[in-house]
Symmetry: C2
Subunit: 240 residues, 2 copies
C-alpha cells in the first residue's frame, strides 16, 4: 500500500466524522428551533425546521454510501472499524432526531392558532433539556471525550422524570377543560417526541463510549417511574 | 484461504440470517399478542409479551458482535457485504419493533381495568394490519423475494390512513366524555406505536430490496394525509 493510499484512507475516515458533525449540527439547530417555536408561535421558524430535514436525510445517505465504499475498498480493522461502524450508527440516530424535530415543528404549526401558552410550558422545559443533551453528546463525539458522553447518559433520567410529570399535567388539563383536548393531544405527542430525542442521545452516548473505549457501557441506569403506568382519575364534578 | 475457512465463512453468514429470522419470529409473536391483548384484556398475555423483549435485545447484541467479527476477520465484499450490513440494519429495526410491542403490552395492562372496549376497536384493526405486514416482510427476507418486500412497502399506506382515522375517532370520544380521556390517551400512544411498527416494516422492505437487487428502492410512496394536521373542534354543548 503506498503512502498516498494510506493518506486517502485516513481522509475518508475524517470525512465520515465531518459528515456526522455536520448532520449533528443541523439536527441540533432543528431541535433547538422546534422547541423555541412551541412557545414563540413563530410559524416561519417552525417551517424552516421542516425544510432543514431533507438535508439531514441526504447526508445520512451519503454517509451510508461512503461506508459501503470504505468496507469494500479498505476492510477497516480495530479502531478504524469502530470509527466506521460508529459513524453508521450515529448517522442513524441523528437522522431519527431530525425526523422527530420535524414532527415537533409540524405539530407546533397546528398548535399555533389557539392553544393557551400555559399548557406548553412543561413541554418547552423538556425540549430545552433535550437540546442541551444533544449538544453535549455531539461535543463528546467531536472531542472523543468519554466522560462527557457518560454524563449525557445520566442526564436522560431527568428528562424521563419531566416527561412523566408533563404527561400527568396535560391529562389533568384535558379533564378540566375539554376544549383543550385537541391541543393537549398534540402536546402529548410533542412531549413523547422530545423524550425519544433524549433516548437517541443516550444511544449516541453508548456508541461514543464503545468507539473510544472499545467496550460497551456496563452501567444499568435506573429508569424513572414510567408514564405508562400513570392512571389519572377524571376530576370530581363541580357543585353548582 | 483453505476450503475449511471458506465453509466457516458461509456458515457465519447463514448464522447471521438465522439470528435475524429468530429475532423476527419473537417480534412477530410479540406484535400479534400485544395487539390481541388490547381487546382480550388478557393481562397474562400482555405480561408475557413484556417478558419476551429481553430475548430480542440479547439476540440483537449477539448479531452486532458477530458482525464485528465478520468485518474484522473476513472483510466481506459485494453480496456478502450487503448480507452483513443488511443483518445489522434489520436487527436494529426488529429490536425497535420488539420495544414498541412491549410498550403496547404495558399500556394494555393499564387499560384493562376500566376502558370501554368500543374505544379500542380501531386500534386493534390497525394492529392486525401491522402484524401482517411484519409477517410478510420477514417472509420476504427468508425467501429473498423482492416482490413481497415491495408489497409490504405499499401496504404501509393503508396503515397510515387507519392511523389518521383512529386519531380523529379517539379525540372525538375524549371530547364527548371526559371520563375516557385517560384510556384514550393511552390508546393514542398505542395507535402511534402501531403506526411506527409499520414504518419499521417499510424500512425493512427497503433494506431487503437493497440486499437482493443491490439498488435502493426508487419509488416515492405517496404519504396519506397526515394526522399531524388534524384539528378537531370540541363537540357542541348539548341542550337540556
Amino acid at each position: 500500500m503506498t503512502e498516498h493510499t494510506v493518506k486517502a484512507y485516513g481522509e475518508e475516515l475524517d470525512s465520515l466524522a465531518a459528515d456526522i458533525a455536520r448532520m449533528g449540527g443541523i439536527a441540533e439547530s432543528m431541535v433547538a428551533d422546534s422547541v423555541a417555536s412551541i412557545i414563540k408561535r413563530d410559524a416561519a421558524l417552525a417551517r424552516s425546521v421542516v425544510e432543514r430535514d431533507p438535508r439531514v436525510d441526504t447526508i445520512q445517505r451519503d454517509v451510508e454510501r461512503k461506508i459501503l465504499r470504505v468496507f469494500a475498498l479498505r476492510q477497516p480493522m480495530a479502531r478504524d472499524l469502530r470509527e466506521t461502524l460508529s459513524a453508521l450508527k450515529l448517522a442513524n440516530d441523528i437522522e431519527r432526531i431530525g425526523d422527530l424535530a420535524k414532527n415537533i415543528a409540524k405539530r407546533t404549526l397546528v398548535l399555533h392558532e389557539d392553544e393557551p401558552i400555559a399548557l406548553a410550558r412543561g413541554v418547552e422545559r423538556m425540549g430545552r433539556i433535550a437540546a442541551i443533551n444533544l449538544q453535549q453528546v455531539l461535543d463528546a463525539y467531536s472531542a472523543r471525550e468519554v466522560r462527557r458522553a457518560v454524563n449525557v447518559w445520566f442526564q436522560d433520567e431527568e428528562l424521563d422524570e419531566h416527561y412523566n410529570s408533563v404527561f400527568r399535567e396535560l391529562l389533568t388539563y384535558m379533564m378540566e377543560d375539554p376544549r383543550t383536548i385537541g391541543p393537549c393531544a398534540h402536546l402529548l405527542f410533542i412531549a413523547k417526541n422530545i423524550e425519544r430525542i433524549g433516548d437517541h442521545c443516550t444511544n449516541m452516548a453508548e456508541i461514543i463510549h464503545f468507539l473510544i473505549t472499545g467496550e460497551e457501557m456496563a452501567t444499568e441506569r435506573p429508569k424513572a417511574e414510567d408514564a405508562l403506568s400513570v392512571r389519572i382519575a377524571p376530576p370530581e364534578p363541580k357543585e353548582g
